[in-house]
Symmetry: C2
Amino acid sequence: MLVSAGYLRELAEKTLLVHGVGEANAHLQAELLIEAELRELPSHGLQRLPRLVARLNAGLADPRATGVARETRPAVLTVDGERGLGPVVMMHALDRLAGLASSKGIALAAIRNANHIGMLAYYAEAAAAQNLIGIVLTTSEALVHPYGGTEAMLGTNPIAIGIPTGTDPYILDLATSRVSMGKIHHHALTGTPIPENWAVDGQGRRTTDPEAAKAGAIAPFGEAKGYGLGLGIELLVAALAGSAFAPEVGGTLDATEVANKGDILILIDPAAGEGSAAGLAPYLERLRASRPADPARPVAVPGDGMRTRRGRALTRGVEVPDHLHEEIRALAEG
Amino acid sequence: MLVSAGYLRELAEKTLLVHGVGEANAHLQAELLIEAELRELPSHGLQRLPRLVARLNAGLADPRATGVARETRPAVLTVDGERGLGPVVMMHALDRLAGLASSKGIALAAIRNANHIGMLAYYAEAAAAQNLIGIVLTTSEALVHPYGGTEAMLGTNPIAIGIPTGTDPYILDLATSRVSMGKIHHHALTGTPIPENWAVDGQGRRTTDPEAAKAGAIAPFGEAKGYGLGLGIELLVAALAGSAFAPEVGGTLDATEVANKGDILILIDPAAGEGSAAGLAPYLERLRASRPADPARPVAVPGDGMRTRRGRALTRGVEVPDHLHEEIRALAEG
């Protein structure tokens, strides 16, 4: 069904409040889910709410925790997320880190023991809205095979980059896997084969069968280079956050394990540099105006499509599967 | 001809000394060129030396400059490279930045007005050798088209990441272009067609003709994701270093323009985090031992191949084209 974002936000907040989450925390967690829906990223949207409620009920997610930050160096925070909700721990860390980044020029927070932080673009945008460059890294369960390999040994290890430009910020948010496991699940649900280069089955053979792929591993994006980048993120996060490596990670796709992945947030104050954020927008305009491969599809800059989809969904509403809506309505009754 | 790395290093140093470069600077610049040759990366090796000499002779490269660093914030240096040799300015910045990174936990240097810095892996290794995580970014002339575009609007914008692991460091060094322009030149020289997805010609049409591709643009690696990453690097470097955007960049492929690209160096002290560098090596061992797609080709970790090639070349020698050797020998005579 097609419903308004406002209605969904209230429904998600109510669901969280009923399950013991404090008002500010419920607002923030609901916002992350709704912002993902508005950008047509359902894998990071409301479908995560029932699992989150199960995690709250199981004591795997602490409804009140905001994380405890320790300043290990003048420009580094390490954060014990205390099993808090991912967005709550992240935004507390970001608020504190912004002060460090402004005074020191660059600052890093390494976060462990927080729940799934959702769509990374949100934090990149939050940084850019404070006129800071934001770089966000996170890890996940083992879902991706190495280049030249066939076993799931790496997380989907996304990176987001937010850069203020004087007008709309540059917002990049990408997983280092070829596709998301959510997309493979979608193919399985609709019974459509997947392209040959997406995944291997449990025996390590290339497969076009989405059910077989679910038991196997996703390819890294961009062959050896994307693998290298995803592995670099795996190592950076583990080295700094003290979090687990993908094969031992649990807690973002289940309601039985403590979330033991890690998250990294780096903020940089562009005013500490010699360039000008306002100088970026004209270059991006030239890029958009450059000759496209298909005359009907102008060159886009990361963040453009997301803003278009969000604006459209704010007007038209968000499409939510009936069964999911019913499930959340029932959860909201407690 | 096959010659020893030691011979080549002496020859390169002598060539630089004869053209007014001070001893320490000549040593460092020669080292970058030879280390690229040892890793079978000739595009960043001795073939750059004649152009470098021309740049010295034209006053576009200052043989003595080491760069002037300004601490704009406690964890940020901005560096005016004073037209110095790229490796000289970079290593001076790295040495000073290492102190900041150790005390502040993380530190960033934004460098402009330095010549081509060569193979990025060198700096990532230098950071890891000091038990620091190193992230290196640089920009270049416009050689890469946007995803969905056809005009050269972006640099090849490489990134290197060095992470100490307890044993061999993790060393990633990749351009965000599908291939290097050097590789396309190599196809042109040998008269072999290029794969269809590498490049477009001057009219923006996909081409397999390397000569046509030289007048066109290279595709980004990894489609939209690689484009986003390359563009993010373009923006980060320009915003912080105050350097030019790719369409206005000159000076790394010619002997007529001042080098106006930018370079970024970020160093992080892993001891400021909660993880353990020594914990990374066992995970990388598991990765190497995981099931390969081809039983004859074990899974590799970025840095592995480079170390193998380097070790082999130290024993066997380095293959240098006769004409290049003659050209450099003539330059070494002054």
